[in-house]
Amino acid sequence: EAAVTQSPRNKVTVTGGNVTLSCRQTNSHNYMYWYRQDTGHGLRLIHYSYGAGNLQIGDVPDGYKATRTTQEDFFLLLELASPSQTSLYFCASSDAWGAGERLFFGHGTKLSVL
């Protein structure tokens, strides 16, 4: 089973704070993704990447930056956190992008912005 590890598992910050969420996958997958999960909205794609140094914009990118430093590591940055960014964040990886490709998810990071 593919392994995706997120850290921290929980994070509390204040409005205007600076937050970095980390994700590492050890599956040699090319694609990595950041999603946020909110009741009534499901999983929404923030950013994704198909390799080190690459970044693609997802459906809800406002207020978020991301960086893929290596094939294994993908970071999500909130430079001026706002209460609307309180959510459960999931990282995922996949071997390819295309028809029927399966995603492997991490256990999530619960972020609270006070």
Partner: protein, 113 residues
């Protein structure tokens, strides 16, 4: 654009009764359909995926049939178990959306004893 609709936010069942979670979709081209399941404090994981040859996928007693005529991919199980309590997501991937995986809003299934 492509979209997925799950009309039930919450479904509560008694153990042993049949399960059916609804999923309908809109897509310009024939999509792949998926069901992902997320147990409490766990990562979402793939439960089922539609086949291109119209075979019915099955896993852990769950099955789903892709009906192109009604644009549906409902999740079914003949007898609910307590361990089936989880959040279920329907999702699609199609060429009309550049193959991006699009999730529905999710259905929380609670199975009571």
């Amino acid at each position: 654009g492509d979209s997925v609709t799950q009309t039930e936010g919450l479904v509560t069942l008694t153990e042993g009764l049949p399960v059916m979670l609804n999923c309908t979709y809109q897509s310009t081209y024939s999509p792949f359909l998926f069901w992902y399941v997320q147990h409490l404090n766990e990562a979402p994981k793939l439960l089922l995926k539609s086949f291109t040859d119209n075979k019915r996928p099955e896993h852990q007693g769950f099955h789903a049939t892709l009906h192109k005529s009604s644009s549906s991919f409902h999740l079914q199980k003949s007898s609910a178990q307590l361990s089936d309590s989880a959040l279920y997501y329907c999702a699609l991937s199609a060429s009309s959306g550049s193959w991006q995986l699009i999730f529905g809003s999710g259905t929380q299934l609670t199975v009571m004893p």
